[in-house]
């Protein structure tokens, strides 16, 4: 998949300096991951760090699905299936690998401990497996008309879910591992309907940050490669695509396999975030969630999809407990007002960063507004139903589905359209959206 990214996105580089600079994004990704891990992590605290981890994985899933649904105009509804393949592979490698190597699957403390490398290895193996399955599933479907891929991928996700359900319910312990014969491994002990528990939680902010950044870079390079542009420009017109003379079907298969691999990678990391890996992770309901990120963010827009994935992951947390944000109202209001006022002033002076400042201010004020509205709605619901736990987060899927329909009717290009956030900035327009803006 690396070679694919290179093939698709090879920038003609002259001289050593250009060659080094062309690789700079990978270094930036590493830097970002380190900053996220060592600076953002402690600032956020354990609860919000966990939310940030889930957001990063959502970003990986959404950005990778965007390669299929956004770039090629094909429609996959089985992305969660690929993620689950990677997830259960990663979980199995980490868990059973740890049993075999160290006699137990308890988490090793520290930064970059051997267990973490086992997780990375397992996730990469999961990515390879997912890519292989993606090839098998995608090859026939992509040669047919668009909606057949939707059906086939949907079926694929469901098959994965059912197969996971009938996997061995009893996970092996270290002793079982030694005494197990060939037959005990069928069906493979992956937890069955109850799910795979006890996977060590190695997916720290560093790893998810690093891989999320890498996935974005790969997606970016593909988008702005020449086959990527060809795919994008012809995605709504099959006939124009054929007329372009490029064998786009081949690129579609490649893009699909790559997306499956990246989903597998994301799934592998997800298995290490402390969740119980259940078979339903493979089902279409999970796939629909990823589709919502992509559609609302804008089919084809990487930054739009990233914003949507982050926003829609954080939003339920805010809805569940808006009090946390309201307590920080002073900070949010100050940042909001200062950044907005500053941004307006910067705009007067013609600074190109003005929209960024306005966007930041709007985000802060928006978060505060969402928290206040959610808190009011929660209070109303609690008094109406008499249930002290009631919160409007429960109904978010109703809003999401309405937004999905509304977006298609009113703004079919999604939050960002096919363009990137900075494209909007360049035109010196006010920021078109803020993180989670679509959700409010």
């Amino acid at each position: 998949m690396q070679s694919l990214a290179d093939n698709l996105a090879h920038q003609p580089a002259r001289g050593v300096r250009d060659r080094v600079l062309a690789q700079a994004p990978w270094g930036v990704a590493l830097l970002v991951a380190l900053v996220v891990h060592f600076v953002l992590g402690p600032v956020l605290g354990p609860y919000w760090s966990q939310v940030a981890t889930q957001a990063a994985i959502a970003v990986m899933l959404a950005v990778s699905l965007n390669i299929v649904n956004g770039y090629t105009g094909q429609f996959s509804i089985g992305h969660a299936g690929f993620a689950a393949v990677g997830g259960f592979t990663g979980a199995a490698v980490s868990y059973y690998g740890a049993l075999a190597l160290w006699g137990g699957a308890t988490k090793q403390e520290g930064f970059l401990v051997p267990g973490e490398w086992l997780m990375v290895g397992g996730s990469l193996l999961g990515a390879v497996l997912a890519a292989g399955l993606g090839y098998i599933v995608g090859l026939p479907a992509l040669r047919l008309r668009g909606d057949y891929l939707a059906i086939v991928t949907l079926g694929f996700g469901e098959i994965v879910r059912v197969l996971l359900q009938i996997s061995g319910p009893q996970l092996f312990e270290a002793d079982d591992l030694r005494s197990s014969g060939f037959k005990q491994w069928f069906p493979p002990p992956l937890g069955g309907a109850q799910g795979f528990t006890g996977v060590p939680t190695y997916a720290s902010l560093f790893w998810v940050g690093l891989f999320a950044a890498l996935v974005c870079i790969v997606a970016y390079r593909i988008k702005f490669s020449s086959p990527g542009r060809a795919l994008l420009s012809s995605r709504e017109d099959e006939i124009a695509a054929r007329a372009m003379g490029v064998n786009l079907a081949r690129y579609k298969v490649r893009a699909f396999v790559l997306a499956a691999a990246l989903a597998g990678l994301a799934g592998g990391l997800y298995a290490h975030t402390g969740v119980v890996m259940q078979p339903r992770e493979a089902g279409f309901i999970k796939s629909f969630e990823i589709i919502i990120f992509v559609v609302l963010g804008g089919l084809g827009s990487i930054s739009g999809v990233v914003l949507a994935a982050i926003g829609l992951t954080v939003l339920p947390e805010i809805l569940r407990d808006p009090q946390r944000l309201i307590e920080a109202w002073g900070l949010l209001a100050a940042v909001g007002v200062l950044a907005t006022v500053g941004g307006v002033a910067m705009r007067r002076s013609g600074s190109r960063w003005a929209p960024l400042a306005v966007g930041l201010g709007a985000t802060a004020l928006g978060l505060l507004a969402v928290a206040l509205v959610a808190s009011g709605a929660n209070a109303l619901m609690r008094s109406a139903t008499g249930d002290p736990q009631a919160n409007i987060g429960k109904y978010r899927m109703i809003f999401y589905s309405l937004m999905l329909i509304g977006a298609m009717l009113l703004r079919p290009q999604g939050l960002m359209g096919v363009r990137e956030v900075w494209d909007h900035f360049r035109r010196a327009r006010p920021a078109p959206g803020r993180p989670g803006g679509a959700a409010t």
Binding site: G73, F75, I77, V137, P140, A141, L144, R145, G146, D147, Y148, A150, I151, V152, L154, G155, F156, E158, I159, R161, V162, L163, Q165, I166, G168, F186, P187, E236, E238, I239, R280, G283, F284, I285, F288, I291, V295, L299, Y395, M397, I398, Y400, S401, L402, M403, L404, I405, M408, L409, P412
Partner: protein, 333 residues
């Protein structure tokens, strides 16, 4: 032998329901060329409307003991009418504005409508004590509208094959509806108009055919058939799950597979596919059940039913992408 026949009875009953649902998918695909993902949710809505209507009627008329014979047909018609109206609303509000939009947008809208129905369906609308309208988040049990009678019992040595009243009613109602549809599509002017619209919308309008109305009627017809299937299904399997439950949605999806296997866009293909998929599902389970369970020493056979269905889908798409009775679909230029 007895086991085999018993499974066959179930397969035919369920197959006729798959066929009913598949008809809706295939009719909409034939005309609008997109997968109406919300169709399986209309099927679920049919079951829940049936539940609500029968519970309401039973309490309103203070029926105790075995319900009168008119109740079943009345509930069936109610479910069909309600779902027909829902289908009409969906088409007008969500799909009609997108007539000229790229197909991908319509597909996403359909997914949105599907999600909406699933999630609204989990809300409770209390209209009477102990009654939520039209569905709810917790499982319910369909009241028994039919006596649990065996119509025909055959003995094979020690084993018996029972053909229940429910099975017969399901098959008879389903086949009646299918015949009615066959007459509508192939014997009436409206049916000819539907086929004309499906072939070429623009030219159909030039014949003086009100295209939008024909599309609406097609949609409503499909929704009504799905509602009937939902209600009939809940007569045989009275446990009602919440609307987003995988079991429910999978039933609708299997019917969709039936439509594709039979040749999407082809009305007779949908019927053929419905029976075929049910046969494969239940026969697959029957043939493999013991073998697999001996092999793996678990009871995995029931869950694997869905795998057979989707495996058949993938094989059919590989071997004959247009489905068994389908004609090659022309890309519109």
């Amino acid at each position: 032998m007895a086991d085999f026949l018993q499974i066959l009875v179930t397969a035919v009953a369920v197959g006729s329901l798959y066929a009913l649902i598949a008809l809706g998918y295939t009719m909409v695909y034939g005309i609008l060329k997109f997968i109406n993902f919300a169709h399986s949710d209309v099927f679920v809505l049919g079951a829940w409307t049936g539940f609500t209507a029968s519970t309401l009627l039973i309490s309103r008329f203070s029926i105790s003991g075995p319900p009168p014979l008119w109740l079943g047909p009345l509930v069936l018609v109610t479910a069909m009418v309600v779902c027909g109206l829902v289908g009409f609303t969906i088409e007008r509000l969500a799909y009609k504005p997108l007539r000229k939009a790229p197909r991908l947008n319509v597909l996403i809208t359909a997914i949105g409508v599907s999600l909406l129905l699933q999630n609204v369906g989990q809300l409770q609308f209390p209209i009477a004590p102990d009654l939520a309208l039209p569905f709810g988040a917790s499982p319910k049990r369909m009241p028994e509208l039919l006596p649990d009678a065996a119509l025909l019992t055959m003995s094979f040595g020690d084993n018996q094959v029972v053909i229940g009243l429910v099975d017969v009613i399901i098959v008879v109602s389903a086949i009646t509806l299918m015949l009615a549809l066959e007459v509508l599509v192939y014997r009436t002017r409206l049916g000819a108009a539907m086929r004309a619209v499906s072939f070429n919308t623009d030219n159909a309008a030039l014949m003086g055919i009100p295209v939008d109305r024909v599309i609406s009627i097609t949609f409503v017809t499909g929704a009504m058939l799905a509602a009937a299937a939902g209600f009939l299904y809940s007569m045989k399997y009275p446990g009602l799950n919440q609307p987003a439950h995988e079991v429910w949605v999978l039933l609708g999806l299997k019917a969709f597979v039936a439509a594709v296997v039979g040749g999407i866009g082809n009305v007779r293909g949908a019927v053929l596919g419905g029976f075929l998929i049910a046969l494969i599902e239940f026969m697959g389970q029957f043939v493999w059940a013991r073998t697999l369970d001996q092999w793996f020493s678990t009871s995995m056979a029931p869950t694997l039913r869905d795998v057979y269905v989707f495996a058949v889908l993938i094989i059919v798409l590989l071997v004959k992408p247009t489905g068994l009775l389908g004609t090659p679909i022309r890309e519109k230029v």
